[in-house]
Symmetry: D2
């Protein structure tokens, strides 16, 4: 992907800084005649929006999205539909407090991108991380809300499955619980524990990491492409591009290293509708970079928020040793709000591959094939 543009057929370009006047994105390549209103997008932005519980940053941003182009009223239905041309989604920033950062404007926060941006560009937008802020992810969620509407029957859901060292109990995994707690946790028992745990982390002026799992159902078999446009390669890039993500795995992921061939490879049978059925899903729905038709399953790790209230050794941009203590307003576990962001990125990757596949192959060939001579 190039700079700030994601995708090939379904593409979006994001812009904006944490403390600038606005953030947002331009979505391009979207198929025409898809019903789309600001409310459709707002619904997803509201899940990611900060300041909704004591477990996320207290910055108050309504994240109200405006559709500035690319939709038009369809006279026949009275609905606003996409036109197939660029969709500008604009979100104004309203609760910047740049002076929170004036004490540290020449210092680099350990674990943040301040130093590397300065090493690269010679510019240091110290106000809340500037372009490197996780605030950028609101734009991803907005683009993802469009992407979700492209592939018929697609469902993309994510959940937090580990906070700090504490994993959920898989036997209690319930998608319906995800929206019942402020952690997007599918295990209601562990969610209660997380509340206590994260309170203590926050009060200590510390932060903690997390693991998120994303599951996409209804991904058509055959989308994806060899060998550098693999669906899993693009998913890995998409998830790794989210702020603070340090690891990505598909299906059984790192666990496959310890497996034997006969444990790992998913066997097949012919199912009732004459389609192949896999007897397991170690592959996480992808083989050879192409979707098998099973659920696509990915997991990724989010590192602990680097902005903490504990003093840390660092340097400033004039080459001097110093100390830093980041006040500002921060998430004690930035992994929580990565949940809707991950859903958005996975939806974008799948929408993009769906269109790319349709371009190259069109309707394709109905499986199974007739036997030669039959």
């Amino acid at each position: 992907m190039s700079f700030n543009t994601f995708g090939q057929m379904f593409r979006f370009t994001t812009f904006g800084e944490s403390h600038g006047p606005a953030i947002g994105c331009v979505v391009d390549g979207c198929p025409p005649r898809i019903p789309l209103t600001a409310a459709d997008i707002q619904h997803h932005l509201d899940k990611r929006r900060p300041g909704q519980s004591r477990f996320t940053t207290q910055r108050q941003e309504p994240d109200a999205v405006k559709i500035m182009s690319g939709v038009f009223r369809d006279e026949a239905t009275g609905q606003d539909v996409t036109t197939g041309t660029p969709i500008l989604l604009l979100i104004e920033n309203v609760d910047q407090r740049s002076k929170d950062y004036s004490d540290i404007k020449d210092k680099y926060r350990p674990g943040h991108a301040g130093y590397v941006y300065d090493a690269k560009y010679g510019v240091h937008d110290y106000r809340g991380g500037g372009r490197a802020s996780a605030r950028e992810t609101a734009s991803r969620v907005a683009a993802g809300a469009v992407a979700r509407r492209i592939v018929p029957g697609l469902s993309v859901r994510a959940a937090l499955v580990q906070m700090g060292p504490h994993k959920i109990d898989r036997s209690r995994f319930d998608w319906n619980e995800v929206d019942n707690n402020p952690f997007f946790c599918p295990d209601p028992v562990q969610a209660e524990f997380y509340a206590t745990y994260l309170d203590s982390v926050r009060k200590e002026g510390s932060s903690v990491g997390a693991v998120i799992e994303v599951v996409a159902e209804g991904v058509p078999a055959g989308i994806g492409a060899p060998v550098y446009g693999k669906l899993d390669a693009d998913l890995a890039a998409a998830l790794m591009s989210i702020n603070a993500v340090k690891a990505v795995e598909i299906g059984d992921g790192f666990a496959t290293a310890a497996m034997r061939g006969e444990e790992n490879a998913d066997e097949m049978r012919i199912g009732n509708d004459n389609k192949p059925v896999f007897l397991s899903n170690h592959a996480g729905g992808i083989l050879g970079g192409i979707a098998t038709g099973q659920p696509v399953v990915a997991r990724f790790a989010v590192k602990p928020t680097s902005s903490i209230l504990t003093p840390r050794q660092t340097v400033d941009r004039y080459g001097r040793d110093t100390e830093i203590l980041t006040k500002g307003r921060h998430d004690p576990c930035v992994g929580i709000r990565a949940v809707p962001v991950a859903e958005a990125m996975v939806a974008c990757v799948i929408a993009d591959h769906y269109l790319r596949h349709r371009g190259q192959v069109g309707e394709g060939r109905a499986w199974p094939f007739p036997m030669p001579g039959a």
Copy 2:
């Protein structure tokens, strides 16, 4: 990345199937006047070449590379140098035995890409996996050999750090041992164990997974780019695109999920040469998608080879239940030969980002910066 092309400024496109007449790649965007001979590339191909020990496939391929374009004799030095135009690297296949596959030509091998290619394209090149074969990775190694010559002072090394459930002992990690055993293992004690272990796996007609670690030193601070062209996002895609890879992590990777902010974020001090020094490298050399100047560290998991001698349930392309047992010639641990492939992919990503950075920023600004008014 698009289809079979990797990279933006430093680009390569691979072609060829396991049992076709040849494989190879076209490298494009390479800077001019870089000395390059076939021997420079052959050196790296020889590391990946099959049939060198009983622990890899017994297919005998010399993997002899020919440079068919893009170099020219420099009259002043007598050296062959790159011209800046496309470099075709051609490797002929010589030891195809397609009839090994005739028994299974209509069946899908579990864990392989046979079914998904057929679902996508309606074509089933059963001969050794066709385009989906790991044989394609020879082309990557060839491209990587060119990439290694682009960034001054860059070193990229990889090693196998886990086979099956057996990790190396980190206290014995020695890069010099990597070429002393057939596993690219940096722990000589564990390497001996791996020989016995893999023999038993092989004799059981089974296979096993592995974890590989790649370390790039000499990566200039500042290369990489926000926010969808992140260095780690591109590394994740590059490594995930290697056959059989199911997981990728950067720096402390999945372990960061369990960490506190004060453990994870790398503190900084001013070093002797007035450059910043990091006091640790949990980040694996990348923050905000941009290189910090520390070693770039990545790890990835390779699943166990799916072609095994144990009978497995599967279906054929005509919609019938059946069984399969893959004879052919296969690696009992395909992760071993992923080691030189990983080095190549990481070298390509870094070369590409080096050129992209030079394009946007040029010489850049010398760090540290003068104090305003000073």
Copy 3:
């Protein structure tokens, strides 16, 4: 180029429709630390702005641009500079009169994109041409204003050299006259004639075409690239992508067809500063797709405005024969306002190639070269 994004290293994506709330662009890949204010951009937009004379559309758009991201105050100089991250340039539409179009909302205007957009997308934004409106070119001018600041010493100027069948007199060509008349005409005598001529065209409810010439000086020798990234190929695409353009030529263009080899090929001599001097510039500053260091010269034809007051035969989107007469507010010679647009596009192409060249080649090799053995 993909959809609504132009360029590879220096990139911009435009959005917005003629009668939507706003138009604009996101510029990405811009080098950092380039001083940039809204006034720098406004200066160029004001040249293209409609309603400035009776010879252009009477729509009153201030085309006031706002920089919404990608610049930051440099503390040392007090200047706003680019940060190297996306620059959102937003221009609000203020003088939409969509009801002008309500009579013709189901009809296709001959010569316009209405039918083909509908054939492609199944959506008909009849309000002033929607996305296909020449209003989009304001975004190009904004992007071009940024591009102009990238290549040191670059100057890009354009002029109208033919209106209808009436060419300028080349012996009177004077760049200083271009801003002295409402036609960007470098021949002051012909400019007076054009005023009378265009008045009569306008009063007849008709329109007329034009030819524009663009000259870029200070283009570094060596930028451009074989063989599909040629500088002239990208210029041709960039100019052809401007609304209503039907032809592009470089240097002597179509006239070269009638030439002999000895007339056309530009001879060379060594100049005073030891650099090569060309004795003519039939090539228009480009050979083999790469800049020679001479002025880059391009010309293009703009067809007559298709919206005219004369009734025309057409069809509607429901498959019925009908007639159309376009009231609205239109340019009698849309070629006039193509002049600043052409400058912008040429500046963007050159900036993009400058960065692409710097990426691949870096500082390059000082010409002439030392003789081997000398």
Copy 4:
């Protein structure tokens, strides 16, 4: 387009130099299951092949193409079909005579790319122009032969319509005559004149330019895209990227500058099959960058061959004034062999846009549309 790769969905990357061991291309993104044999491609290469008459270079190259990957025998039909993966097309060079160039190895040929390649790369492949040779166009013809098979019902034909100052007589235009003379001239009377004329040009050691016209029929209405991926913008780039091309026009092209709106805009009526019929085709089949369904018509100018037997002033790469006289073997009118090359490039652009359109829009909406409320 990037460097040596053309296209987005239907892509090809060419490689090779005039006097290297081989040239060719890798075609990627081709839809699967398209019947394809070397003979299908050879047919088109044979039209471009040199040495077939006294009017083209006497270099004897069989241009025998080999398909090295990307096709597979379909068991059901016995046909070789594309697999959807990369197709390597390899053409060996057999009649290099590099010593023809040894006299001029340090000199730049006026009108050639020698100087600019050297200024860019610091490398001078003097052997027949190296990568800048028109020999590269054989690779384009090979790729084009694949492209032609993608869009159902597409026909792409080209003809030479002007040699030197001598245009054909349009009233005698007959596509059936094109293959009856060595000039691809559709006017048999003018073809006879060209034989005499070009003989005299050749004997004088000179060369001459030409104009070629390309017509694509069966281009589906709706392919193409706003606003930087316009069909005509991509055609302009594709044709301008052919060696020696200096101008491109679509439809009435430069002539539109002199037209009135009522002359130029093509009126529409409903035809017999309820599809729109245009009453003229001044637009050349493209409006707003999107195909109208009419024939796509383009014309381009090819400059006279720069390698001539007349001595010319030039410089060498060591900064010295000198003279040059190019012996070698050259086309007196390189425009002739541009005819099959142009067909190939136009076929590639249309195939690419066809797939891009199918990706974004799929089946689309049947025109005309139902009336709301009807």
